[in-house]
């Protein structure tokens, strides 16, 4: 017996007198329990605390504007229970009721009802002061009734999602026939433009997520939440892609549709985030600002339709195929100049449009009726992961296309397309971000 084999053998046969496995597994837990009881019963860290007041950390999770005042949801993210002593609205002490209790346990929530004669379309500042005199602030940027769930409101917010999600994506896709007629040398440029658009969205979503994460109580660790949601999403998409890897030789049209679907999914998640923002903004009021905002988002999102449709271009598929073929000459793949396997069906376009634009509707509903910074943070993180995977795949496609034409990936046409994609997004964002 070698030493290693001996070791294995001794492990598999417990010698008499040795601690049974279950007990040895329990041992660390018992030790941990002991340590915890020392900390809870005794106070080994007493010398660090001295007479310091407790650290208090309240977060304004939501402020609802209701007919007779405000309804505030507070979250205690601090290490100790916090008791709200008084409430101020616009620098004036004001009557309030709290449920379930003015004392909010760690990681607990409480609702504060403040009867207040708020003024339509004007800002109001809400401040709570705790028993230790610490203050926490929330702001109503523009007071207007928080929408209540009703059929009319529901339809209106849904329509908002249609305006900023479905319509622009559909409009963008209407360029598909034009794109099809473009000379081959320009197709790389279109793919690069799509990449530019995707990079812009990636950065936009990441920044948005970081901003939202600031509104979360510290214990939720918003930034980590975003980044890990992105990482997991990306890995899941990667796993899905690798599973599909065996079916690589499938119909190129289907491959195009698959990539277009992936792009649409990523963009859909981005539009969900946009829908959230718009829904929340509309719930804040300002109809005049609203229509401008909607037009802005419509223009801003038109490019997305182009990006989704790009992988469906037949010429592109041929090129990709050629590249694949040249990369693996043993298979001796076909190099056809005619359309490979039929044009994508209208239903495909409609499906892609719904996938990319539809989430904006969902986002508008959530933003309008049940906004939660936590959900927004997660959605944005998932979106970032999805967009990253889309960037990787479109990048692969562009590389294959360039190889097929015997060019480098970064040529003047591709670079021009990429920069143009970013610039279009950047400048149309002027319409929605000043």
């Amino acid at each position: 017996m070698t030493g290693a084999a001996e070791l294995r053998a001794s492990k598999s046969q417990p010698r008499p007198g040795r601690i049974p496995a279950w007990l040895s597994a329990l041992l660390p837990l018992v030790a941990l329990a002991l340590l915890l009881s020392v900390f809870t019963l005794g106070d080994p860290l007493a010398m660090f605390k001295a007479n310091l007041p407790p650290i208090e950390d309240l977060t304004f999770e939501r402020i609802r504007v209701i007919p007779d005042g405000f309804e505030v949801t507070l979250v205690n993210g601090g290490p100790d229970p916090v008791t709200v002593a008084q409430v101020l609205v616009d620098d004036a002490y004001w009557a309030f009721q709290m449920s379930p209790s003015p004392t909010i346990p760690r990681l607990g929530r409480a609702m504060v009802h403040i009867p207040y004669p708020w003024v339509e379309a004007e800002p109001h500042a809400i401040r709570v002061i705790t028993t230790t005199g610490v203050t926490f602030d929330g702001e109503v940027e523009l007071a207007t009734l928080t929408p209540e769930l009703g059929l009319g409101q529901f339809a209106a917010y849904g329509l908002l999602g249609v305006y900023v999600g479905i319509i622009p994506v559909a409009l963008g896709m209407l360029w598909f026939p034009t794109m099809r007629r473009l000379g081959r040398r320009w197709l790389g440029g279109i793919l690069a433009l799509t990449l530019g658009l995707l990079f812009f969205l990636l950065i936009d979503m990441l920044l948005e997520a970081f901003e939202v994460s600031q509104a979360l109580p510290a214990f939720l660790q918003g930034v980590s939440l975003t980044l890990f949601a992105a990482l997991f999403t990306w890995l899941v998409l990667l796993a899905i892609r690798n599973r599909g890897g065996q079916a690589r030789s499938q119909d190129p049209l289907q491959r195009g549709v698959r990539l277009a679907t992936l792009i649409a999914l990523g963009i859909g998640l981005h539009n969900l985030g946009e829908g959230l923002a718009i829904g929340a903004a509309f719930a804040l009021g300002e109809a005049a600002l609203g229509s401008f905002l909607v037009i802005g988002f419509t223009l801003h999102n038109i490019t997305e339709g182009i990006g989704i449709a790009a992988p469906l271009l037949p010429t592109l598929r041929v090129q990709e195929e050629a590249a694949v073929a040249s990369g693996a000459p043993a298979t001796g793949g076909p190099t056809r100049d005619s359309e490979p396997s039929g044009a994508p069906r209208a239903a495909t376009f409609i499906g892609l449009t719904l996938l990319a634009g539809g989430p904006a509707i969902l986002g508008a509903w959530i933003g309008g009726f049940a906004f939660s910074p936590l959900l927004a943070n997660l959605f944005l993180g998932i979106g970032v992961g999805a967009i990253w995977q889309v960037i990787v795949e479109v990048g692969d496609l562009l590389r294959a296309y360039a190889r097929g034409r015997g060019e480098g990936v970064v040529n003047w046409i591709n670079l021009g397309g990429f920069v143009l994609g970013v610039l279009i997004m950047y400048f149309t964002a002027f319409l929605v971000s000043f």
Binding site: R62, Y93, A95, S99, E211, L289, F369, F371, S372
Partner: protein
């Protein structure tokens, strides 16, 4: 005065705000849930305080005056005349003992402030004497920081109670004696002058220091006024005298006050109000020691008063006004009455509405 950085409501920010506060927007995790929450709030677990009587404005709950050790209504007329004796030359000697300690006080219902106090209260005892008296103050520092007592009045440099002069700052556990003759008559104040000064003042180390005029020194109308002001004369007894120290508390130590008051307790004279007799003359010794804000003020509703700036004159310095303002450490005497008025509640407050709504507001309940 909480700073108002009135943000420009730019559109980007507006959109972000939607995302961030999420606020307004949200209708709760579900309509049913929200409705349930609302129902549960209709049966408040929380006892409603005075606030609701005044259109929702005001604090909720009550202050535990017993735990504080002082009630703002008692502070109004709680004069400390010291222990008096007569010096060989015939001069009256008034001896006071003042102890500075650290003490947490409740300044609005449920809101606690880690104060530094003279004789267990904020404002400190209202020291009262007569022009020309010899004042001797034994000061003990039982607090955690060096403190002093600096009097607004006439005295020797060594008795000024400032760092580096005379006894200078009195270390914790230490003591000193401040001694001087009371001049000039008027409505004055004292406060700690240790460094850092702002902190030592806003933590609560201040009080009123009232020197009554000596009637023997004046003639005519001035003599009558001096008799009315001097607490030893019979004429003084017919006047209802009150002292109010306008102060404020920065509970979160950000250089802005969260609570404003007279005599420390937010809305302390709203419920219950100060009961006064319609036919009685009223004299109000008013001192401003508010930190962080340049001025404070008092406005009396439905009535006018005569005002003696610093209280150092026997004839009014301002006649028939209903609002006066004071910078920090400025003080004066208000004289008014409600003769012929309808009985009822007459409001008084700082006419910085913000201070008023943050606690500096009260009522006189005029009884027939």
């Amino acid at each position: 005065m909480p700073s108002d950085n009135h943000k420009m409501l730019d559109r980007r920010g507006f959109l972000k705000a939607g995302l961030l506060t999420g606020g307004l927007a949200a209708a709760g995790a579900g309509a049913a849930q929200a409705a349930e929450a609302r129902r549960s709030m209709l049966q408040p677990p929380y006892n409603q305080g005075a606030g609701h009587a005044h259109g929702g404005a005001g604090t909720v709950g009550t202050v535990d005056h017993q735990r504080n050790g002082f009630n703002p209504h008692d502070l109004l007329r709680d004069w400390d005349f010291g222990s008096t004796s007569t010096l060989p030359g015939g001069q009256t000697l008034r001896e006071y003992r003042i102890v500075a300690v650290d003490k947490e006080i409740e300044i609005a219902p449920g809101v606690h402030f880690p104060a530094w106090v003279y004789n267990g209260r904020v404002p400190g005892p209202t020291l009262r004497c007569v022009e020309g008296d010899r004042i001797r103050i034994e000061f003990f520092n039982g607090g955690s920081h060096p403190h002093t007592m600096h009097f607004h009045g006439i005295h020797a440099a060594s008795m000024d109670g400032v760092p580096g002069v005379g006894a200078g700052m009195i270390e914790p556990g230490g003591s000193t004696v401040y001694e001087f003759d009371a001049f000039p008559f008027g409505c004055h104040l004292y406060h700690c002058h240790s460094n850092p000064l702002k902190r030592h003042i806003h933590k609560g180390l201040y009080g009123a220091f009232i020197i009554d005029p000596d009637p023997t020194k004046y003639a005519g109308a001035e003599r009558q006024a001096a008799l009315s002001r001097n607490h030893l004369s019979a004429e003084n007894r017919s006047v209802n005298e009150m002292v109010m120290v306008m102060n404020a508390f920065d509970t979160n130590f950000d250089g802005d006050n969260e609570v404003y008051a007279v005599n420390s307790i937010a809305f302390g004279y709203m419920d219950p109000p100060i009961r006064i007799q319609r036919d009685q003359s009223q004299r109000l010794y008013l001192v401003n020691i508010t930190e962080f804000d340049p001025i404070n003020s008092l406005h009396l509703h439905a009535n006018f008063f005569d005002y003696y700036d610093h209280g150092t004159t026997l004839l009014p310095t301002l006649r028939t006004v209903d609002t006066i303002m004071q910078c920090q450490a400025q003080r004066g005497i208000l004289e008014f009455n409600f003769r012929g008025f309808e009985a009822g509640l007459y409001m008084f407050h700082a006419h910085q509405s913000e201070f008023a709504e943050l606690g500096w507001m009260g009522f006189f309940e005029v009884a027939a």
